[in-house]
Symmetry: D2
Subunit: 440 residues, 4 copies
């Protein structure tokens, strides 16, 4: 075990009054909410990449964090040092899960065989550390977007040899995820998109993508992986346009290739907003389309047009997210993964804790507030009353296919049907939500 965070002990729940910045104010893992512990409800995960593979560089400047394990040195030694620090962090934080890309945890080396060997050695180490700490893997994934060979896509690359190279990584990453008991496997198509339509054959690339996804499904069954397969939508960045634009687009793609029962979505808050939707919208849409899987909990900046991956801190927003999740039965294998970056100016080791503590408390409070809504569910009541007509005879007959346009027009004309509009009560509903948030 490393002692990068030597001054920091395991984070404890101390309650809302605590003045200790390194304590949870609201996340109390064993506290029961609506019949389950908070730990079971929230299924928190930390990510390997932003926390341990990034040194604070951005497009206009170099790393500011000075993480020792990201300095030059023997690649495997550095990878082990990184794993030590990562598990020191995970253990002290107290989120039960973590997530990784293949090349987050092991160096690629100079050949495919190097890659396989390094990755295998490192996943053995991760397995041992899981054993030792009790940490679990929420999901694994393969990074098939950072290497220059993937600049024009992985599955959607114009070169089938690059498709094959990506398949190789996904094969090993899926196997590793199974080996480590991962609860899900995620695919983020970071370069599956285009920079210009002038050189892009959309139809061909869709076919390639569809075939790739089918291969993933076949492999899942072959190895007996029983977690969810998840696609993570993102509209753009790094590409000008990414095929997995948003939940509705992914759904159409899945339907086209007959995959809608095989994949669910991993919704990231900041990707939602980049696609022109609210986070809430993406979650509600995923449930409506029956493809909800998991969440990358973060936030963007409403004024910025790129993926800032900030820690979630709006309880106002998170309450409605938790409400949707609770109303739809909660997570199955998914969870709240913090796909979050520190601000580049947050250079203290403790800042990693501050970010995660804030994020976890935000979700925990959101859960408790959502549970409070559900206990006296004015939202559900309002909807039930608002749509009541569809549960009556005419509504059921219409939906049941008993009317044609002609017969319905005839009915309306004979009775000179003149329905009046009814208030949507938006302001009242918003006030009621606020009362749960800030009332007693």
């Amino acid at each position: 075990m490393a002692d990068y965070f030597q001054d920091i002990s395991a984070i404890q729940y101390e309650g809302a009054e605590s003045t200790n910045p390194l304590a949870f104010k609201h996340y109390n893992p064993q506290e029961v909410v609506l019949g389950k512990t908070m730990e079971e409800h929230l299924r928190f995960a930390s990510c390997y990449w932003h926390n341990f593979c990034w040194d604070g560089a951005d497009v206009f400047g170099g790393g500011t964090f000075g993480r020792p394990w990201l300095q030059p040195g023997d690649a495997m030694e550095r990878a082990k040092q990184k794993a030590d620090v990562a598990f020191e962090f995970f253990s002290k934080l107290g989120a039960p899960f973590y997530c990784f890309h293949d090349i987050d945890v092991a160096p690629e080396g100079d050949s495919i065989n190097d890659y396989i060997r390094n990755f295998s050695e490192m996943t053995d180490i991760l397995g041992a550390k899981q054993e030792e700490t009790g940490m679990k893997l929420l999901w694994g994934t393969a990074n098939v977007f950072s290497h220059p060979r993937y600049m024009s896509g992985a599955a959607t690359n114009p070169d089938p040899a690059i498709f094959a190279r990506a398949a190789t990584q996904v094969f090993h990453a899926m196997n590793a995820t199974k080996k480590l008991g991962g609860a899900n496997y995620v695919l983020w198509g970071g370069r599956e998109g285009y920079e210009t339509l002038l050189n892009t054959d959309l139809k061909r690339e869709r076919e390639q993508f569809g075939r790739f996804m089918n291969m993933v499904v076949e492999h899942k069954y072959k190895i007996g992986f029983d977690g969810l397969l998840l696609i993570e939508p993102k509209p753009q960045e790094p590409t000008k346009h990414q095929y997995d634009y948003d939940t509705a687009t992914v759904y159409g793609f899945l339907k086209e290739f007959g995959l809608e029962k095989e994949f669910a979505v991993n919704i990231e808050a900041n990707h939602a907003t980049l696609s022109g939707h609210s986070f809430h919208h993406e979650i509600a849409t995923a449930f409506a389309l029956d493809v909800f899987g998991s969440i990358d909990a973060n936030r963007g900046d409403a004024q910025l047009g790129w993926d800032t991956d900030q820690f979630p801190n709006s309880v106002e927003e998170m309450t409605l997210i938790c409400y949707e999740i609770l109303k739809n039965g909660g997570y199955t294998s998914g969870g709240f993964n913090f796909d979050t970056k520190l601000r580049r100016q947050s250079t203290d080791p403790a800042d990693l804790f501050h970010g995660h503590i804030g994020g976890m408390d935000t979700c925990a409070l959101g859960l408790k507030k959502a549970a409070a809504i559900i206990e006296n569910d004015f939202i559900a009541d309002t909807k039930a009353k608002r749509y009541a007509g569809w549960d009556d005879a005419m509504g059921k007959q219409i939906l049941g296919g008993e009317y044609s346009l002609a017969s319905l027009a005839d009915l309306a004309t004979r009775s000179n049907l003149d329905p009046r509009q009814v208030s949507g009560k938006q302001e009242l509903l918003e006030n009621q939500v606020n009362q749960v948030l800030f009332g007693r």
Copy 2:
């Protein structure tokens, strides 16, 4: 016939050198481009609503145009006066088609029977005017978004009686479209969306919407309408979120309800940009998904977040649109409809002509430039070369399902497959397009 445009004669093609602002510089209807006349290729239409039903009001101010037929008076007399002016305009402009909503052409009256009677009388008049002038109907549609009763949606309204009211209008508007020989029927779900998720049941509303669309299909076959059924995507405005968000979203909806063979999309340029896509993207996506139908040719303002519906004037953009259309075989029943508004400060009657002449010349030039690309098609050549690997053995085997993840990983590993990236040549391609646009 009216003489609102008494100082303006029928617009003629006078060629690029003409200094007459009321002449076409590029649109020469009978000129043949790639084997068809420009008129056949472009299938231009003017719209009734922005041109003849709008007096220049916006959210912050009243009408500036002072159109006589929009002043108070007997509703049917005004509707006839409006039709006179509209057909005077259509005839003088020389676009072969027009488009309308039911209540653009006839007053709603005080009851459904009024509506039916007025609409029937006015469509008789429109039929006579078509006969007289040779004008044709590109598409008809029903306005089920302006009346207060539709404030919470038409097909997706919480009240089934409002669904029935909307069905009544769509029934009559489809029948009228058939009666007038319309080439297509359009559905724009202007209020099919939500203002807040707090009072909205997304799943229920999708079911209602799916049933409504199926009723439309059934009615189409029942009356033997042989045009296309078109859905016009728009992401937001007037609602916070509209269900027919963009082409990919509509496609997913169609697949869910088994309608993807029955509907195509009517893509509006300004709706494309409001949804975060380029106009070009939406067109290319529609062809890739095999749901391309027709176009509402206009443009937005890259700095503004609402539907400005300006006349298209970028030949640079329109050339690539026309290229996609030509490469995919051209319009079948669709066409370029100008869903365009004058700027509120364009208060001269002649301004209606200036806007349309500019729009038609932009499309005509785009068509000619696109044809010039196709004659020596560096775009197609580049793509063919770029994806050549997929036409080779390994590419075909992959797509043909002959590889699993495992066997492909095995192949890659044994050969230590290390494909190199190949330049996408975006800047060169852009230069080549510009050379066609601005070269000799």
Copy 3:
């Protein structure tokens, strides 16, 4: 007095536990916070225009509210009926102030003399109603953007006669504001901008605008109006570009014309976000530039590109706004005016109350939370520590002009100055804010 809201009594403070939707949960006018009552701190105002002059129409549909006083009829009778309802509402709501445009309260009539007579008669009535109810005027303003004559601007119109017409309205609106004891006078340049640079002389229009503003200042002194003159920035809508784009732009304009001591800004939250800034940014900038005046409290929708003017409901956001105001000494003559519209579907008379109650409680909570921050001001402490170097010798010498580039470079070189970056602690600060918001 009207009884449009006959079922609704005066709104009372009932505390956070109240389940009465028509009661304040947090706004307790006489409750003292940091030495002043909430009423004195917040200085709430309702607006005439959105509440009483708008019937729920939007660009795609007609009015949904059916307000009786907006139906056809004798214009002055309707204006009186409107005033009755407005003051019924104001009195029952319990915000101490209101705001109006000249033509909100009186019909324009057919001539300038009509306008003057009607406006004079109606302001007499308003004066009487103020007397009777104790209501006060937060600010008056002139609507020089709705009439067609203003389509190309008022002060910046290409026609000086239109400048003169606008001057006439501003003259009377300023006089009326003084007569009614208004605390401020606002100028919103809704049409002072351009649609296209092709027909716009920016330099000329700036000169016109500068002259107009100077005339306003001169008139203020002439009539002895001792309130603030306020400019309300907005970046676009209805125009493509509006000259008073944001606070920083207004400041540059004021400096150019020597007006920076004469005007302050009236910042609207939704205008802030439309200009690409956070609401918080605009407030903080106004204080930094010493031009803060008043606030139009509302909110936009982070996904929509137009002015939705919704009621503010984010306590998270409002707390930081109130913090800035409190830290800078509070309002002088300004206040929180609700420049807010109901959603078009909020058709019940009671919805006007729900919206305002929610907005007032949001501000009230924001005030209390801000006061809680100030009592133990970690934000101020962090800043003091962070900038401490500038209070030391070298910092003071630099700011005092004692160094040139050369001498400072020399100093740095001689000592090989190598300062280290220090964490900005953003995540920690955000957690601390949340603890005040949601802690006990």
Copy 4:
């Protein structure tokens, strides 16, 4: 001299018909347009940073270009190799100018003395290369944003020692610019802004920034640098908010600190669009405020919210930019600098030429089209006619201060002034521009 571009000869003008991708179609340096050569008008520059210091990395992946001089090695040797390649490129391209940051051309080393020595040695080499090739320096600048020490700003850093460090670089970069005969000196405040207002004292940072800018002015006079000092606005990225947001904001800042005669702006197209303005708007505003200096010619992507720095390729847009420049007398010391990046997938050395050739031809065509407008200037004619009233007696009297609000209101009332709106003719003007662009 290097021979990185060994297969490419000096780029020649071959005219619009040429099929040689490595030739200019429109940029003919010695061709005279409106009395000056194209070379004199356009003053093209290439930049050091994107072309020679960037290897194709983005936030999600590593370098794709494989530039030999960016591989590990002796830093000064690499810098010299880079200079060789850069001047090979500059000479072959035929743009007369180049631009650089201090640390683009010389390694920072381990101490300030290293920095000074390296930079001095490299600027000697650049001087020799200028001599040898005839290249000139359009502007120099200092990179005070990439090093971790600048993460919280340079001049606006909370630590005065970092201000001093930045001053040291600016001191040497200004001196180097003078030594190399640079025509201008640029300041881009890439980190002068904030990430969160929670830790930022806006007022203090403005004061620091104002003092820094005054030091720059003083140094300019001290060393007798007679070029322009330029500030480059950018609204955000890398910071959440950058102080030099746009031209209007910079103008306000300059006025506040009495610097408006000392600085002009260097407007970048992509920064304009990120700030919510059109490129055209920023140029026109700079001329209206008399602060126009130079241009970073590039373009963004209308759908993307970050700085894509693509090569300009819209002749439609560039024509209006050139029109503004020509109408205002042309560049003095400024020019068109290509602050442009290849797409990451453009990995061939020749792609650097394709990008620049396309950009230069776009500007050259824009210049010729703008000149064609000016020869028969319907834009100027339209404006003259539109604002004619302001040249008449009443207009002059108003602007001359001869009216008060009262006297103007009196005049309007006595004559019941009722001016009518006049069409803005936007569509006609747009058609006329298109006719110049695409007519014969």
